[in-house]
């Protein structure tokens, strides 16, 4: 504790350590020193305060107490301030010191007010500490979810989403091309073959309802493949009299010499 401004009175190192640990930074100690002296902060002698602070720091150093940087910074600044305050009045440097001293006194007054307010708050009846609110609040509200939240922008957004999705589906879905398959051709040839009297054109075996030229060519190709397959197994004979000419076919049982 600091009960006297004299450095010599700070003899007990342990007490000093305990003491400094109780402070929240150098400003806190300065304010406490002022309080200990019952100094009026309005007319405080900053010079006295500086001496006391420096003596505490000196005492701490003597017992090799490790001090945080902000303490040392404050000590250095106060030493500078003291040097200015000791100058004869009137000099520019002395004026600088007075301004700095007033700024420090102002900060101490601000901190003193803060401390007073903190104490005032601490003396109020605190909810949950000194006074208590209803422990079992009753919920008087009822939720009605029957109504719909509708807005026109939501409707338009939904419409656009639906239309875009539909368009996207249409664009990217490959149109299924209806082609007559080799399987179809095999079935049709097998069904019609028995009723054929003589060589017949392959194209006559195609179904009647084929639309586009592409589908027609595809069907013809399927029929040829089916015919080749059936010729291989001996069910029919195929022949083409000249290049690009019509392909003719005949049942296999009629003529064993067919090509």
């Amino acid at each position: 504790m600091v009960s006297s401004p004299e450095p010599s009175s700070i003899a007990d190192a342990d007490r000093l350590v305990l003491h400094l640990q109780g402070f929240e930074g150098p400003l806190d100690l300065l304010l406490d020193l002022a309080r200990q002296q019952k100094l009026d902060l309005a007319t405080i002698s900053i010079l006295d305060l500086v001496d006391q602070f420096l003596s505490v720091i000196e005492g701490a150093r003597r017992v090799r107490l490790e001090l945080a940087a902000d303490w040392l910074v404050m000590a250095a600044w106060l030493a500078w301030l003291k040097s200015r305050l000791l100058l004869p009045p009137g000099e520019a440097a002395a004026e600088e010191g007075e301004l700095a001293a007033e700024a420090l006194a102002g900060r101490l007054r601000d901190l003193a007010r803060v401390r007073s307010l903190a104490q005032w708050l601490g003396q109020q009846n605190q909810l949950g500490q000194d006074v208590f609110a209803r422990g079992m609040p009753e919920d008087l509200t009822e939720t009605d979810r029957s109504k719909l939240a509708l807005d026109i922008t939501g409707l338009l957004r939904a419409f656009l989403v639906a239309i875009r999705r539909a368009n996207a589906t249409r664009i990217y879905r490959p149109r299924p091309v209806q082609l007559w398959s080799v399987q179809d051709a095999l079935a049709r040839l097998a069904a019609l073959l028995g009723s054929l009297p003589d060589w017949s054109e392959l194209s006559l075996f195609l179904p009647d309802d084929i639309g586009s030229p592409l589908q027609h060519r595809g069907a013809l190709a399927a029929a040829l493949l089916a015919g080749l397959e059936m010729a291989r197994s001996g069910h029919l004979h195929l022949r083409q009299d000249d290049a690009f000419g019509p392909i003719l076919l005949q049942t296999g049982s009629r003529d064993e010499d067919g090509q």
């Binding site: 209803r134 422990g135 509200t141 409707l155 539909a166």
Partner: protein, 203 residues
Amino acid sequence: MTGAAQVLQDDVRLAEALVFASAQPVQSSALLRSLSPEADLDAVMAALQSLYAGRGVELVQAAGGWQFRTAPDLAPRLRRVIEVPRRLPRVAMETLAIVAYHQPVTRPEIEEIRGASLSQATMDALLDAGLIMPKGRKEAPGRPTLWATTESFLAQFGLSDLRQLPRREDLLIDPDAHPQATRLANPPASGLADPPASDVADI
């Protein structure tokens, strides 16, 4: 006040505060532990109960212990109804939008336009909400029902009639297919007075 009366009043105050501040109903045994040693619990609670007789709050003893609760007769006036409107599911909103723009429209047509099938539940939700209604049948195989929006649909969306919906062309901004729509989306400086521009702003 006699000494005994003072003790009773002290105990009534403490019991009141304890039951008030407790997060659970307070058991008689717990009250007895806190009250003065000579307290007659029945007398204390009877005195407390009489303080609240006819008030907006009453002291009741339920299975769990003592508790305060607001007077039941006030319940209707205390109740605050909070409306938390539901949102329509996305599918229902899309369906509603398609009906709005293509009405009268059949369900298969809606499915065709959405490019996805439509569940009965979605149709039911829109019917229950009074947003769509049947409007005759289409003269086509199977005579499917035609659907249209209702008066309530207009009211709920704050529309006076269907023409207040932005036109389809103004909505579908596709630079290739709808050069006109592109112009609408970026009205020239001179176009401020253009009716189409205000249509876009309506969206």
